[in-house]
């Protein structure tokens, strides 16, 4: 077992590493926000061009099916974009790319869902038919009741949090045979009724 001084030294060393990681994460978050803003503007410009070219029918189908990286609300998932026009032309929407509060039915079902009750340390895995029910429940929750990981971390950093988070909602997004599954995590506030 470490002596008191060794213990403190180890705590300080770990803290320095953790601080550096925290700073790096902050910097990355800022860059991501900038990218989202610039790509949103680009998406809006694309829509204007399409409308002026008279392709209203095509826009209708775009809303219906979604375009890789661009959701129905016109925002872009920067993780799916490499910054080239060809990326935006690829078809097929991922589960969360196509979500917005106005387009509840556009999502694809994830392979599975894990609902963790953070307060009571319990965990429920949802697979098969239950997934659709939980996805409907999730998308019908008001926006202010679900937080992204970034919003959750911001909430945690507040000295007096405005919302009490109760559940961690993890979607396993298996994007196809050639792509590995990716987890998308949201946090849900206390007081909601489960399906």
């Amino acid at each position: 077992m470490k002596t008191r001084d060794e213990f403190i030294r180890s705590v300080r060393e770990k803290s320095e590493i953790a601080m550096a990681e925290k700073e790096a994460a902050r910097a990355e978050k800022k860059i991501k926000k900038k990218k989202i803003m610039s790509w949103s503007a680009a998406a809006a410009a694309c829509l204007v061009i399409a409308v002026s070219a008279g392709s209203i029918g095509n826009i209708g189908s775009m809303f219906k099916t979604g375009v890789d990286g661009i959701d129905a609300a016109g925002t872009i998932n920067v993780t799916d974009m490499d910054g080239t026009a060809s990326t935006a032309e690829r078809g097929g929407a991922s589960a969360t790319d196509s979500y917005s509060s106005e387009s509840k039915n556009l999502y694809m079902l994830p392979a599975g869902i894990v609902l963790e009750d953070i307060v009571n340390d319990s965990r429920t895995e949802i697979n098969g038919e239950g997934v659709a029910e939980y996805m409907d429940w999730f998308y019908n929750l008001p926006d202010e009741m679900k937080l992204t990981t970034e919003e959750y971390e911001e909430e945690c950093e507040k000295s007096e949090p405005e919302r009490t988070v109760r559940y961690r909602f993890t979607m396993d997004l298996s994007l196809g045979e050639d792509k590995e599954g990716v987890d998308r995590i949201f946090y849900i506030v206390d007081g909601v009724e489960l399906p």
Partner: protein, 181 residues
């Protein structure tokens, strides 16, 4: 504001030595508390370090709303529960020398935290109890937290905590005979 919270405030204001004061107050008790979950002294020590790292890296999460001791033990419990959940079911077997060294360290640690023969017997009896009873009694009797504070650490209501302590005491009485607690 309790003494340790004052030390923490001084640490955040730039007094580096104040961290040592907090470590002196809670290190051993915290390691022993975490050990009851993870059953490995090196892991318990590592997780206890992570608790103090959290105090340094994310001070805004404390906010001086509860006692610092409650906050530290809450972090300790969360990290221990996460660790147990994540760790592989297959653990490397300790060699006999390491195990002996760990037991010696554990004995020293226990003798610092668990004072008196009666407490010592109670501490040993806790091994046979359900996790929740054991944790509740440990926090109330050995860390001397109030029911409200212990409830905060265990994410229970004070009433639930009271029930756990009461049932835990009953179980201990059955184990230790009439002497009990």
């Amino acid at each position: 504001m309790d003494k340790s919270a004052q030390s923490y405030r001084r640490f955040l204001d730039g007094d580096d030595d104040a961290l040592g004061e907090i470590v002196d107050l809670y290190r051993e008790g915290l390691i022993l508390f975490i050990y009851r979950y993870v059953a490995n002294l090196a892991d318990a020590e590592d997780l206890a370090e992570d608790v103090f790292v959290e105090l340094i890296v994310n001070p805004e999460r404390y906010g001086f709303r509860s006692s610092l001791k409650t906050y530290i033990f809450t972090l300790g419990r969360n990290k221990a529960v996460d660790f147990v959940r994540k760790q592989s079911r297959i653990r490397p077997v300790q060699n006999p020398d390491e195990r002996l060294a760990e037991l010696a360290d554990l004995h020293t640690l226990e003798s610092h935290v668990i004072r008196g023969e009666e407490n010592r017997r109670l501490y040993e009896a806790l091994d046979s109890l359900k996790d929740d009873y054991r944790t509740a009694l440990h926090l109330v009797y050995f860390e001397e937290l109030s029911y409200k504070e212990a409830a905060g650490v265990m994410k229970k209501t004070p009433k639930q905590l009271e029930n756990l302590v009461s049932r835990g005491k009953k179980a201990v009485r059955e184990l230790m005979g009439e002497e009990g607690i």
